[in-house]
Subunit: 814 residues, 2 copies
């Protein structure tokens, strides 16, 4: 769906009224709040909104009949809006939809609520009370429950507690359902009832645990079932009662103060952060407080961020705007922000275990996750799961595993200097050990303890240039070997390319480089690759899969190069490693980021060690798994404790992370199985493939992205500014021509980034923007695995406009 | 409170009946389940337990009057136990307590429930249905709500849904309240109601989201308010109805199957883990499947673990037993397992944000936590917070910070080899960079890329030996300088010891060692210390605080030793570092582990960089903060991006971790402020201090532990076996005489560990044990910050017995 705006205007205090149950007095409390706000803020307007009403007159009658013997006069036989009309005069009121209306979508409701609020804000200062229907989890017309329906709007809540028998329980449970969805309940209001005394217990409970105030008011008069007129009169009297005026005034003052405090806190965050936070990967001398984006919350594909001009915003401009999370929250996000099923998974494990230490112990989430991930990768080599906290530590573990396995196999002494074999521009993490796996580069060259411990091969890159897929072979590998393909799936059709002998030039290069190093006496202990996409290595780019495949096969088939290998010649489907342990760093590429469970599958290869993080937990909490073959594991077996892999973090296999990962994998697998990405696959990608396919005997590899092929091609044709572009899975990466040199320190992509950040203020709908990241002269946009066709379309349009505008108004941003 | 047993016996299926609300038919459904189980499993017994009943006759009457016009006959005017008596014949039934009884503790209720279940299990196979009171959050006599009260028992749940108007909402909310406390709801049962149709919605909802089946049954007959006799007759008829027999049979069969499946899964976990998991810090060749402890859940201070002899356990032996988490879940645990306030904090942040990337952004939990932690440490030097995922990565960050600051200050070129200064036996983490901060030892000597980059000083240790606190000075520092103190707080009284000149011998040693290294041309970039307690360095021990203080002051006062420092002489309260940046690794020692917010406070010093993890999140999810002074931060300021601290993890400052940390710090601070550890302080520790104090002018440092001084002294007197012992905060560490050499690979402490693991099977109460960890010849037991006096007493008794038994029955375990 289109971006949904969070409701926040400076001069309009908006509160959502949720009920702990049906018929606890939501409408009556709302009427009280409406009346009081009108009498205290006389120059302001008060509005009442009922987004969806159950209340046809018939239904209301029905309800009133049902509850006619209720002790208090909580439900009236008016539909709620007419109740407001009658008992809260002068209030602007509206019901948007009736339950009986067919097919109202969540998006319609949310957008209408937004529009109503926007209009109110534009009209001047005041209050807006939005009354939800039923209890917190009562279904909306689409079936989504109230609490889930309104999450994106995220306005603060007045929770109407339940004064009836059992009401303590339903009030606390309702509160918890709201809280775990990130709602801020600002106050609980409840009727006093001498018999049950719920309000006393609730006061104590909410104030002690959450610092939330509870306002208890006298209950409305008992219903007079004989005379409607009499009933109305006594209710009017109730509303006019002076005795409760102070409590209500205090309540409204509190709500008024909370509203201002929220805005003040939001507006102060960036400056405070500028003073207190030491940011990752940031030259803070170049960072101004205004550059720091204040996030109020996030839902689905969007952050809700404070608009830069908030302090001077006019009344009709919301202080918050949806901002597409274009770095998929730094590459972790897969299932949407505020995904309540992930939240509940996390909370379940927290409730069942907290954290339980893992050495010598086992718990269900860890075992289940280990089994699931081993099964899902379909790599017959992998048997063992080692848990750690993030990609960097998981790669440290992988390196320790691989080096030991090589040293044991080849009989090297413990003090032997062992290097790794990798690709130039690789990046495996920020801890010193993984930094040492990367060739000297911007990230590490100034780090005091960095010492590259490897040999790094050059490799051919793929991108779309001027409408064609180019495999660009560096001159170190071969001269004049660049190849051009009209279809990306042809590039990935490794069998055919191999049959055509395209790999031979790669083999010669690999052999020549290896010979150089080996002849110089160097020893290698691991081949470490990021399959297909090299994530953070200063650039985002796709490496020719044929080259990577050739490299792995070459290493496996030429074991004798690396050491005195006494094993018989090994075949690919053997579970024993050969030559060097092959480590795939799938921290970024794995678990559907590129549209498949593994990026290894693009290469048709099974690594001996595979590392997975980021999407593993769907974008919620840190967790990493390093998977290894039994043969690697066995290298650590000994009667000596000190031969073991003496690595481990306190939160190893923490149950919260494992349970969230199980839930994420389940959801991602089900998205895959149920064809949730069919819209993307048919977005130009597989059509092309299928057309060609008809004349081919064998199917070609399924290569696709959520970013339409037509967009990729169009961008590639902006050759004045674009050096190349590619898309795969949820990733779109645009390499711009960099006047100021390429690499991480380039600022070439900044202009495009700012254009996206400026965003769209289109009517109808809310203003929104795209928060994207640049890596030097590369700008990338990364969706989640739930990013919709509509979102992609809107961002694509924004991108095109960005390029076009910059053409007409001079290329300011280069 | 004493260990609470989780309910699990092979032949007794136990289900707890929770209600989505009051009066949704809990008792009627329970009667149905009771009747059906009796008719299907004819040779078995069915029991019904109502732990706490609201039902005096009066109250019941009262309730019945209130609800007399209810549509269905849900609440009867019998108290629930007599309802069972009347309508579920042949069922063993009991009510344990009445609400009206004064002062029933939670512990009493839980122990009585356990005892009832134990007796039922001993009596033979069957079913036990435990009916809770009211809704899931209805208060128990102590005020704790039902859901929180019974968490420790953790038996699976039958949730009775709400068929009434609003019942969809209350059923889902009630479910969520249970789920976030780790309950397994095995089935939802609900009455069919044509008007509201809740059951259809709920079926769909629970099956799709959670795979939980929903059984809908016809509602009981409408109440006949005129004739009690007639009413009973129609209710009896309802219970005997054949039409619903299949649904009930399916439900019970499902519950029966789930019970077996749970046991089977638990019993299979260790063997599966043995095949699939690669354990941290474990020589798996020496690990048998039986050595792997299967954890069902954890609550408070205890795991609930599968008993080793479960497969042969007789009926009266529970398959699970509480096992004291004696490593405080590997040093992270502070606020109890399954702490619902931490769970809700985590869930709130998950709902509000999920994860949001942090570079150039700010969100409330990160800013709040940064502010709180800076404030709470009361270290005027610290201004900046850098977030990472765990102690090891946080220390990598600290090292990068410190080395850069030194290099910039002293004008060294980027390729200068810079070492760190530290103590022998230090341990800072498992990633290569932090391993390099430790002198060669068991942990790192076999790691291929380890290369110690430092100089490590020897240091005096403290422990209680034969009743006296000994400061043992290694011969490298001085000969015959061992000192003996009768009171540990005298050892920590640094001012007096300094006045007596005790630090001078330390100064000479420090200078002589430094001179050696500096004369050899080595350069140092940081002083890195674990203040007071060196956690994992192969041993657990306390370092003489006077030595550590002397070392820091020496480094700060002799800046010219380390480089061409052009700054004027600096004083201790200056915010600018002097000599070397001082890094305190408080990952383990900080945030109340030793009874104070920082261990630095024992030394009366302020480090320039301080690293905190583990207890930071109270024992729930990984998070680490590296705090630094502005002066260190400024060393990275430049116009070059590449001069920045180019470090960062994807989940940097993840909101879930930050929110949990805020909640943890709040709770820990409030425990501190409200004197929650007074019982421990007066447990021998401060009494001794106070007695001496009367004749002293100034107060002495407050040194205490939850482990009573008398226990520490008693253990220290077992001189045949004990080399020394110490306790501080929640830590107790016993160093055993090791026949087979000391150090990490020693097995000397294994015997005592096994004794603790064998545990206690005392009556009354449940059998329980202590899960502790050994580091070579050191056995330690670590409580949480909520460990109670009673728990400490029971474990102390077990420890004493352990020592005594081993004396009489020959010292088998040495």
């Amino acid at each position: 769906m289109s971006p949904i705006g969070t409701l926040l205007w400076r001069n309009l205090r908006i509160y959502k009224i949720y009920g702990a149950n049906t018929d606890v007095g939501k409408t009556i409390f709302t009427s009280i709040l409406c009346n009081a706000s009108r009498s205290i803020w006389k120059d302001e307007a008060t509005a009442y909104l009922k987004p969806v009403s159950t209340g046809s007159d018939d239904e209301a009658d029905d309800k009133s009949r049902m509850f006619e013997t209720k002790k208090h006069n909580v439900l009236t036989d008016y539909d709620t809006c007419s109740h407001i009309n009658k008992f809260a005069k002068g209030v602007i009121r509206q019901t948007l939809y009736q339950y009986s209306q067919p097919a109202i979508s969540n998006e319609q409701i949310l957008n209408s609520v937004y529009k109503f609020a926007l209009d109110r804000a534009a009209a001047g200062p005041g209050w807006l009370f939005i009354e939800t229907a039923g209890g917190v989890h009562s279904p909306s017309p689409s079936g989504t429950t109230q609490a889930d329906l309104y999450t994106a709007l995220r306005c603060p809540v007045v929770l109407v507690g339940d004064w009836k028998l059992g009401g303590i329980s339903s009030t606390i449970s309702a509160f918890e359902s709201l809280r775990i969805r990130g709602y801020d309940v600002e106050i609980v209001v409840v009727f006093e009832d001498a018999q049950y005394g719920n309000s006393d217990y609730l006061k104590n409970y909410f104030e002690q645990r959450y610092g939330i105030a509870v306002t208890a008011l006298p209950a409305p008069p008992p219903r007079n079932t004989y005379s409607k007129e009499q009933d109305e009169r006594s209710l009017l009297e109730y509303y006019r009662k002076k005795s409760q005026a102070k409590a209500i005034r205090d309540t409204l003052t509190h709500l008024d103060r909370q509203h201002s405090a929220r805005i003040k806190a939001l507006e102060g965050m960036s400056a405070k952060a500028h003073r207190k936070i030491w940011y990752p990967f940031t030259q803070q001398k170049l960072l101004q407080p205004d550059d720091i984006v204040a996030i109020d919350s996030a839902y689905g594909s969007h952050f809700q961020t404070l608009t830069p001009e908030s302090s001077t915003a006019s009344n009709n401009k919301s202080l918050l705007q949806p901002s597409f999370d274009g770095s998929a929250s730094w590459w972790t996000q897969g299932l949407g922000h505020g995904n309540s099923s992930l939240t509940l998974a996390a909370a379940y494990a927290a409730g069942r275990y907290g954290h339980v230490m893992f050495a010598g112990m086992i718990h269900e989430p860890a075992l289940k996750l280990a089994t699931m991930i081993l099964d899902s990768l379909r790599n017959p080599r992998l048997d063992r799961v080692f848990f750690s906290d993030n990609g960097s530590t998981g790669m440290e573990v992988a390196v320790k595993m691989a080096l030991r396995a090589s040293r044991v196999r080849y009989g090297w002494s413990p003090d032997t200097k062992i290097d790794i074999l990798g690709l130039k521009g690789s990046y495996h993490g920020d801890t010193i050990g993984t930094m040492d796996c990367a060739e000297p580069n911007t990230y590490n060259e100034k780090v005091e303890w960095y010492e590259g411990k490897g040999a790094w091969l050059d490799y051919p890159q793929i991108q779309c240039v001027a409408g064609k897929w180019q495999v660009e072979v560096p001159s170190e590998i071969a001269t004049c070997q660049n190849q051009s393909f009209s279809d990306l799936s042809d590039v990935f059709d490794l069998e055919r390319r191999r049959a055509r002998g395209e790999h031979k030039v790669y083999e010669s290069y690999i052999l020549s480089i290896l010979r150089q190093h080996l002849d110089a006496g160097r020893k290698f202990g691991a081949l470490i690759l990021e399959p297909v996409v090299l994530g953070a290595g200063g650039m985002v780019l796709v490496s020719d899969p044929l080259f990577q495949q050739t490299l792995v096969l070459f290493v496996r088939q030429n074991a004798s190069l690396f050491g005195p290998d006494k094993l018989p010649n090994l075949v690919e489907d053997d579970k024993t490693w050969s030559g060097l342990p092959v480590v795939f760093d799938e921290v970024f590429t794995g678990i559907y980021r590129l549209g498949r469970v593994t990026a290894a599958s693009f290469l048709g290869l099974h690594p001996d060690i595979s590392v997975h993080a980021k999407l593993l937990t769907g974008g919620l909490v840190p967790l990493c798994v390093t998977l290894a073959s039994e043969c690697i594991f066995d290298a650590f077996a000994s009667d000596e404790k000190s031969d073991a892999l003496l690595h481990g973090h306190s939160y190893t296999a923490h149950p919260v992370g494992c349970q969230v990962a199980i839930q994420s994998l389940n959801q991602l697998q089900s998205l895959d199985k149920t064809g949730s990405w069919d819209w993307a696959k048919s977005n130009g990608w597989l059509q092309v493939a299928n057309e060609t396919q008809t004349c081919l005997a064998e199917p070609r590899p399924e290569i696709w992205s959520i970013w339409p092929l037509s967009l990729v091609q169009w961008i590639s044709l902006q050759t004045n500014r674009v050096a190349g572009v590619w898309a795969l899975g949820s990733v779109l990466a645009i390499r711009l021509n960099a006047a100021d040199g390429s690499g991480y320190t380039s600022t070439a992509a900044e202009g495009l980034r700012k254009k996206l950040l400026h965003g769209v203020s289109s009517a109808p709908g809310v203003a929104w923007n795209v928060h994207s990241r640049v890596l030097g002269n590369v700008l990338y946009i990364m969706g989640s695995q739930l990013t919709t066709e509509q979102e992609v379309k809107e961002i694509s349009d924004l991108l095109r406009t960005g390029f076009e505008e910059c053409l007409t108004i001079k290329i300011l941003w280069f």
